[in-house]
Structure formats: structure tokens, C-alpha cells
Amino acid sequence: MNSEAAWEGSVQTQPERKTKKRSLAADARRSFKKHWQLYLVVLPPLLFFLIFKYYPMANAVLAFKDYNVIKGIWGSPWVGMRNFKLFFDNPIFWDLIRNTIFLSGYLLLAGFPIPILLALMLNEIRSGRFKRVVQLVTFAPYFISTVVMVSIIMLFLAPRLGFANIALNHLGFDSINFLGEPGMFRSIYVWSDIWQTAGYSAVIYLAALAGIDPTLYEAAKVDGASRFQKIRHVDLPGILPTIVVILILNVGNVMAIGFEKVYLLQNPLNQSTSEIIATYVYSIGLLNANYSFATAVGLFNSVINLVLLLLVNGLAKRLTSTSIW
């Protein structure tokens, strides 16, 4: 937002502003008159946000009502916090919280450092060819769709004909029904995710590394630093702000872990670890048409997520003076 502050300053130095006292209404009037075409242009996208993003937020009052199809959202009777109470008292509540947090916590712990390590290693390599090939190949799986990704996982881990089990059999082990084991669900989810996105996520760190002041490297060289010391004392501090911002975003999204892949990997056998809040909202809300209750569960999740994001951002601001706002 710095650029904006700079801009405010520059506008105030314009001659017409100097003579007149700054008034919002006058600014608005002048802007409408000057840019009426732009206001027309901006109208359709703005309507999009109001209809498809803000109207649903208003619809979320459903969480405090007992939805009745005939009476509609606004005519249905209020029930206060009953839907939330039902959710908190439901034995599945703690399972959902645990599954959601464990899955995204695991993803964060394993998935966050790997792109950083990948970028640091790639940055050490000076030979262009090998570096380019590694980057090109590791970036590619990012373009694979969730459906195809899960299809690949299922083909590789299939109980009978899957590659993993054929390999196990060759080595003299018994076959494992990977996707039917609740204990393996999280690892399958997390490591396939890392396979798919590590190369993509490394790009941002590579860019940060490229932006480090070259004189620092020269100074390190003069001081006789080894490659490892150089990484430790020049590279890492250099990309720390980037690391913090990405960490904030990741931690802030811990409760917002995607529905899409979990849902596709889910089956009755692994449900005890794979049922997360998002999949529960889908099955309760859309499959069982329990709208009010599902809205309450979803709203609970959104609010927790928002609070978490603000909290982490505030914490990072105090500790490292880096934040996303």
C-alpha cells in the first residue's frame, strides 16, 4: 500500500488541489464527471462481486435460522445459536476439527520448507541447462488437474494392479490397500501435494534469491565463507521477508484446506481420517439438503479462518515487522 500513499502525496501537489481544501464530495463529483465511462465499465465486475460474493455473505444468516423452502431464507424462523450448538454437541465435531487441523498442519510442516530447500539448491547451480530442466520438470505437475492427480494416485496405489503394490510384491512384501488405510490417508494427501506444487512454490523464492544484493556474496567470498555458510548467512536472511509472508498466508489458511482433493480421495474405509469440515459441509448440505446446519458449520469454519489469518498477520507484524497488510 506504499505506492498508494506516495500517490496521495503527488496528487496533493497538483495545482488545483493546492488552492482548494480537500473535500471528498468534490473529489467524488470531479471523478464521476471525468471518468463516467470508467464507472460504467467497472459496474459489471462490481455487480459480480456483490451478487456472487457479498450476497452469499448475507445469505449466511441461514446459519441462525431453521430453513424452510416455502418461506425462503428471509422468511424462515430464527433459531439463534441452535445450529451451532447442535454442531458443537455432535460427537463428530472434534473428529472434524482434528482431521482438518492434522491434515493441514502436516501439509504445512512438510510442504512449507521443501520449496525453500529446492530453491536454495537450484540457486547454487550455475550450469544453466540442468537448472532449467529441473525447474521446467518440477513446475509441470502444477498444471495437472485435481481429478487427474487423484486418478494418478489411485492408479499407482491400486490394491492389485497398482505400481506401488507390484513393486512391493517384487520385493517380497504383501500388497497394501493404501487408500483403504485411515492411517495412510494424510501422508498420501500431503506427499502427492508436495510432488505437485513444490516446483511451483519454489519459483517465488528463486525470484527473491535473484534479488539479493550481489555485493553481499562478494563480501562473503572475501571472508572465506563456504557455500553452506553463504546460504546460512546471506541467502536465508535475504529471503526471510518472503518466507514470512508465505508462512502467514499458509498458516492463515490452515482451516481452509481444499475440499476438492480430499473429497476425491475419500472412501468409506478411510473416512475416519479423511472427513474434514469442508467435505462434511458438502455431504450434509448438498447431499442431505440440511441447509441451515451446513451453513452454520461453514460459517464457523470461515470465521475461525478469518480470525486465524488476522492473528498470524498481527503476530508477524510485531515479531518481524513483515506482514501482508
Partner: protein, 301 residues
């Protein structure tokens, strides 16, 4: 000269550094193989014979090369319909998305546009908070978009991230002075957008088109919740039904049981290739646009 200089520095590297580099190269080589292998395996399987795939004889290269999988795919109506639908959704969805994104990003990049900060806040807030699945579904339902093609084109047409990227680009590359000069010459905002902004913004338009197109091609969630008629399904949903739900009946009628089983295994590999190839083939040529888009956005973020 240069080669000599480079040589000297490598000689000067300490033993520790050389070991360190050896470790780095080894790890990266393992990473390379770990990422590449599954992709090659799938491609090889898709062009092997059905019997070789089901007996687990494919390890790296294709065995008994055959195109039976692809032949069957292109004779299956559900897949052809899905492919056609996906092309339709990708083409029109991208068109709508890019147009709307530019329409909001450009005005927001103008410094004299009153309300830009307020609007920016309104739209970035949607990134961190949403009404949720059910309330959104109810809006789409009340607009009678359920089970129509529009349901995949409109409700998620604008990604806030793309607006931020485009706006940052406009701010950096279209100087305010240029717009002012055009204004003094009597050029309207619309005309300026059409004849100056758009032609000057080809790199960012490429980024937007590619990101939206890949997103649309790969999406399945909206189709899952909003569509009911099979003839509207995009390829990803067809894929889900055939591979993940193992539902390949109706694709092969008059065939022996064993043959059918073998073919249905093979078809899964062929399907993955058919669904992913369009994206992966163009990817090496457009990778830089994606990287660019990521970086433009992160400067601001």
C-alpha cells in the same frame, strides 16, 4: 578468457564445497526422477497393449505398443461430449473472465478514479472471507443457473488474485501522464482503453488468458455441485466417473469379460493423457508467463 576464469574458481573451491555441491546435484537428480517418472510411466502405459498394462509388465517404456486405448476413447460418446464441453467452457469462460478482470483492474489502476481504494478493499475482503458453500449455492439457484452452462462460466468468473496482478501491471506500465495527455487531446476513457491500454498490455493479457484457461480446463468442483445433466459435464467430471468411481460400463459392449477388464485399465491411462496433454504440451512455451504472473502479483502482495 571467461572459461579460464570459471575454471580457476572451480579449482579454488574447497573440498567441503565440492562435497556440498555433489550432494546438491544428487538430491536434485533424485527430485527430477521422482517428478518425471510417474509422468513417463503413465504415458508409456497409455500406449502399451491392454494385456501388458494389466499384467504389470510396463516399467518405463511402452510394451507392445498399441493405440487401442485412444481408439476406444474416441469412439465413446461420453468422452467426446466431455471434451467438447470442456473446450466450450474453457473458451467462453476465459473470454468472460479476462474481460471482466480487465474491466475492474484498469479503472482501479487509475489514480484519479475516486473510490478505488474502497473497491479494492471490497474485493480483497472476498479473498479472506466467504459466505460459504451453501449460501453461494442458494444464490446460484435463485438465479436459475443450476444445471445450465452459465453455472460454470459466471459464479467464479473473477479471481481476485488476477485482478491484483492486472492492476499492478497497469499501474506500472501505463503512466498516468499518458492518460492525461490523451485526455487533453480529447480521447475518452473507453477509447484510451481500447487503443492504448489493451495493445500495451499484451504480456499481462497472456498471463490472464493462460491462468484462467488452465483453471477452467482443470476445474471440476462447480460442475459437481451445479450440474446434473450428463450432456453438460466437462471432461474432468467424466474422468472422475470413469477413473475414480470406476464406472466404465457403456464404453465397451460386445467384448469378453477378460478383454473388457484389461481395456478398462488401459483406458484410465489413456484418459489421463488425453485430459492432460493439451495443457502440458503448451506449458514449456508459456511457463515464463506463469512465472511472470506470479511475480507481478507477489510484488504487491
Amino acid at each position: 578468457m571467461q572459461a579460464q576464469a570459471a575454471k580457476r574458481t572451480t579449482i579454488r573451491e574447497s573440498a567441503g564445497d565440492r562435497i556440498f555441491m555433489a550432494v546438491v546435484y544428487t538430491i536434485l537428480a533424485i527430485v527430477l526422477i521422482a517428478v518425471l517418472y510417474p509422468l513417463i510411466y503413465i504415458l508409456s502405459s497409455s500406449i502399451s497393449s491392454p494385456a501388458a498394462v494389466t499384467s504389470g509388465r510396463v516399467f518405463l517404456w511402452p510394451v507392445d505398443i498399441s493405440f487401442k486405448g485412444f481408439e476406444t476413447l474416441f469412439k465413446t460418446p461420453a468422452i467426446l461430449t466431455g471434451y467438447g464441453n470442456s473446450i466450450f467452457y474453457t473458451a467462453f469462460g476465459t473470454l468472460i473472465s479476462v474481460a471482466l478482470t480487465v474491466m475492474i483492474a484498469y479503472p482501479l489502476s487509475r489514480k484519479t478514479f475516486f473510490g478505488r481504494n474502497a473497491i479494492m478493499m471490497i474485493i480483497t475482503f472476498t479473498m479472506i472471507f466467504s459466505g460459504g458453500l451453501i449460501p453461494t449455492y442458494m444464490v446460484v439457484k435463485s438465479l436459475h443457473l443450476i444445471d445450465t452452462r452459465w453455472a460454470l462460466l459466471i459464479p467464479n468468473a473473477i479471481w481476485v488474485w488476477q485482478v491484483i496482478i492486472a492492476r499492478t501491471f497497469f499501474q506500472a506500465s501505463i503512466p498516468e501522464e499518458l492518460a492525461e495527455a490523451a485526455e487533453i487531446d480529447g480521447c475518452s476513457d473507453l477509447r484510451f482503453m481500447r487503443s492504448v491500454v489493451i495493445p500495451l498490455s499484451k504480456p499481462i493479457l497472456a498471463v490472464l488468458v493462460l491462468m484462467y484457461a488452465v483453471g477452467q480446463w482443470n476445474a471440476y468442483f462447480d460442475a459437481l455441485i451445479y450440474l446434473k445433466s450428463a450432456n453438460l459435464f466437462p471432461l474432468q467430471l467424466v474422468l472422475r466417473s470413469i477413473i475414480i468411481q470406476n464406472n466404465s460400463s457403456g464404453m465397451m459392449d460386445a467384448m469378453k469379460m477378460v478383454e473388457r477388464q484389461q481395456l478398462s485399465e488401459l483406458l484410465k491411462y489413456s484418459l489421463i493423457v488425453v485430459a492432460t496433454l493439451p495443457v502440458l504440451v503448451i506449458y514449456p512455451f508459456v511457463q515464463r508467463y506463469f512465472v511472470q504472473g506470479m511475480l507481478v502479483g507477489s510484488v504487491k502482495g
